[in-house]
C-alpha cells in the first residue's frame, strides 16, 4: 500500500455505502458539499478507511480534507510514514 492511485480506489470503495444512487464520483468531489455526507458519516468513513489500512488518521489533520483528492493525498502520506 502507499500509492496515491491505491488510496483513491480504496476511498471509492469505502464511500459506496454512504452515497446516493446516481452520483458521479471524481477525485475533485468534495465529501460534504458534493456528496452530501454528514459530519458523522465523514467520521464513519474515516474509521472505515483506518480499519482497512490499519492506520490512524489524527483528528487535527481532518479540517484540511475536503475532497477525495485531499483525503487520498493524506492517506498516501500516512501509509508512507508507517512503511
Amino acid at each position: 500500500m502507499g500509492s496515491y492511485q491505491e488510496s483513491v480506489t480504496l476511498i471509492y470503495e469505502a464511500l459506496e455505502p454512504f452515497l446516493q444512487p446516481g452520483l458521479v464520483l471524481s477525485e475533485d468531489s468534495a465529501l460534504v458539499s458534493d456528496l452530501g455526507l454528514s459530519s458523522l458519516q465523514v467520521m464513519e468513513l474515516v474509521a472505515e478507511v483506518e480499519d482497512r489500512l490499519d492506520i490512524t488518521v489524527p483528528l487535527n489533520v481532518l479540517p484540511d480534507v475536503r475532497s477525495i483528492r485531499q483525503f487520498a493525498e493524506l492517506l498516501t502520506r500516512l501509509t508512507g510514514d508507517a512503511a
Binding site: 483506518e50 490499519d54 492506520i55 490512524t56 489524527p58 483528528l59 487535527n60 489533520v61 508507517a82
Partner: protein
C-alpha cells in the same frame, strides 16, 4: 457572513427555551439557603444539579477558614503564581494535596478547567500524540487544540478501540498521552481504568486522569477512581477541581513525576492568570481535611445516589449505564425535555437540562447530581416530581439493566 451573523441561530434556540417563561440556562438562584436548597423564581427549591457531592459549601470549618483568610490576607492576590500571587497558603495547599494523594508534588490552578486544559496543552506538543476518550470534557478538547499534538480519539470507555489505536501508534506510544476521566460528568459512568492501565503497560505511553467528579466520591479515602481501581502508581498525572466535592473553585494536578515542578514554568494557564484568592485556598484546605476525616460523607452520598437511581429506574426512566452521584435521565425528544425541566422546577426541583450537542448521544438529558447533604425526604420529593412528568406515564422509555455501586 459577517462577524456576528454566526450567532443568529442562537436567537431561535433562545426563543424556544424562553417560551416557558424562564431560561433553563443561567437560572438565577435568588438566595442560596443550604447545600441542597435555594430560592428560584421566588420559590423554595431542592437543588439536585449542583455537583456539591459532599455538601461542604456551608461547612462551618470551611466558612470560618475563608472568613479568617479574607480578614487576614485580603480579598485577592492580584497576581499570578509566577509573580506576586503565591502566598504561604498556596504552597501549604499544594503540600497537603500531594500528601492526600500520596504523590511527590502538586500544582494549584485557578480553576479546574484551566488545570485540565493547561496540563493537556503543556504535556504534549507538535509530534506527540493525544489519545483521548471520545466523550472528553471541553477542557480536554481545548487543551488538545492548544497543544499542537496529533489528536486521536478512542470510542468512549471502549478498551478494544483503545487497544487498536495504541497498537497502530507503534513506537509513537513513547510520545503518547492517554487521557481519560474518572467519572464522566454527563452520563455518570466510570472509566474502565484497570483495563486502560493494562493496555498502557502493554503498549507504553503516559496516562492523565481527570478526577473532577470522582475526588471525594470514589476510593476508600476519597482519592478518586485511581484509588478505587487500585492503580494509582500507573496514573502519571491526576487533575481535578475544587469546585465539586471540595465546595470552592480552583483546580490542581498531582504527580510523582519530578517534571511537574518544571511544568510550573511552562504552563501558560498557570502562569498568565491570577492565583486563587486567600479565601478559596483556605476553605479548600479545610474541605480537604473534612474529606479525609469523614468517610461517612462518601457513604451517605452513595446511599443517596443509589436511592435516586433505583427510584428513577423503577418509574421506568432510561438512565445512564451506571449508578452514581450523577444520574442522567434520557429524554428522546428535546421539546419534551425542555417541558419536563420546567415542570420539575414548578414542582420545586432543580436539575440540569442538557441538550445536544452538549450530550454525547443525540438524546437530551435531565441530569441530576446528588449530595451527601440530601435527605431521604428530599430524594423522595425529587422522585415524586419525576413520576409526575407526562413522559413517566407514557412508558416510552424502558428501564435498562441497572447496576448499583457502593464505595
Amino acid at each position: 457572513m459577517s462577524l456576528l451573523e454566526k450567532f443568529a441561530p442562537f436567537e431561535s434556540i433562545r426563543a424556544d427555551l424562553n417560551a416557558h417563561g424562564m431560561m433553563p440556562f443561567g437560572v438565577v438562584t435568588e438566595k442560596i439557603l443550604s447545600p441542597t436548597e435555594g430560592l428560584v423564581g421566588g420559590k423554595k427549591t431542592i437543588l439536585a444539579g449542583t455537583n456539591n457531592y459532599l455538601g461542604l459549601t456551608f461547612a462551618p470549618e470551611c466558612v470560618a477558614a475563608a472568613q479568617k483568610a479574607t480578614a487576614d490576607e485580603g480579598t485577592g492576590t492580584t497576581g499570578s503564581r509566577m509573580a506576586n500571587g503565591t502566598y504561604s497558603g498556596h504552597r501549604a495547599l499544594e503540600q497537603e494535596l500531594a500528601a492526600f494523594f500520596g504523590r511527590d508534588s502538586a500544582m494549584v490552578f485557578t480553576t479546574g478547567f484551566l488545570a485540565t486544559m493547561g496540563m493537556v496543552a503543556t504535556l504534549t506538543g507538535p509530534g506527540d500524540v493525544l489519545l483521548i476518550d471520545g466523550d472528553s470534557h471541553a477542557s480536554i478538547y481545548d487543551g488538545c487544540k492548544l497543544s499542537g499534538a496529533d489528536i486521536v480519539r478512542f470510542r468512549h470507555n471502549d478498551l478494544a478501540d483503545l487497544e487498536k489505536r495504541l497498537r497502530r501508534l507503534g513506537e509513537r506510544t513513547a510520545n503518547t498521552l492517554i487521557v481519560s476521566e474518572g467519572l464522566y460528568s454527563m452520563m455518570g459512568d466510570q472509566a474502565p481504568l484497570a483495563g486502560i492501565v493494562e493496555l498502557k503497560r502493554k503498549y507504553g505511553g503516559y496516562l492523565l486522569l481527570d478526577e473532577a467528579h470522582s475526588v471525594g466520591v470514589l476510593g476508600k479515602h476519597g482519592r478518586g477512581l485511581a484509588e478505587a481501581a487500585g492503580v494509582e502508581d500507573e496514573v502519571d498525572f491526576v487533575v481535578g477541581t475544587f469546585s465539586k466535592s471540595l465546595g470552592s473553585v480552583g483546580g490542581f494536578c498531582v504527580s510523582s513525576r519530578p517534571e511537574l515542578e518544571l511544568i510550573r514554568m511552562a504552563a501558560r494557564a498557570y502562569i498568565f492568570t491570577a492565583s486563587p484568592t486567600p479565601s478559596v485556598v483556605a476553605s479548600t484546605r479545610a474541605a480537604l481535611r473534612l474529606v479525609a476525616a469523614h468517610p461517612e460523607l462518601r457513604k451517605k452520598l452513595w446511599r443517596n445516589a443509589n436511592r435516586l437511581y433505583e427510584g428513577l429506574a423503577k418509574i421506568g426512566y432510561q438512565l445512564g449505564p451506571q449508578a452514581g452521584p450523577v444520574v442522567a435521565v434520557f429524554v428522546d425528544d428535546r421539546e419534551q425535555a425542555i417541558a419536563g425541566w420546567h415542570q420539575l422546577l414548578a414542582a420545586g426541583v432543580y436539575v440540569n437540562l442538557v441538550l445536544p450537542p452538549a450530550t454525547p448521544t443525540g438524546a437530551s438529558l435531565l441530569r441530576c447530581s446528588l449530595s451527601a447533604a440530601h435527605t431521604d425526604e428530599q430524594i423522595d420529593k425529587i422522585l415524586d416530581a419525576f413520576a409526575a412528568l407526562p413522559m413517566a406515564a407514557s412508558g416510552k422509555s424502558a428501564a435498562p439493566q441497572t447496576r448499583t455501586h457502593s464505595v
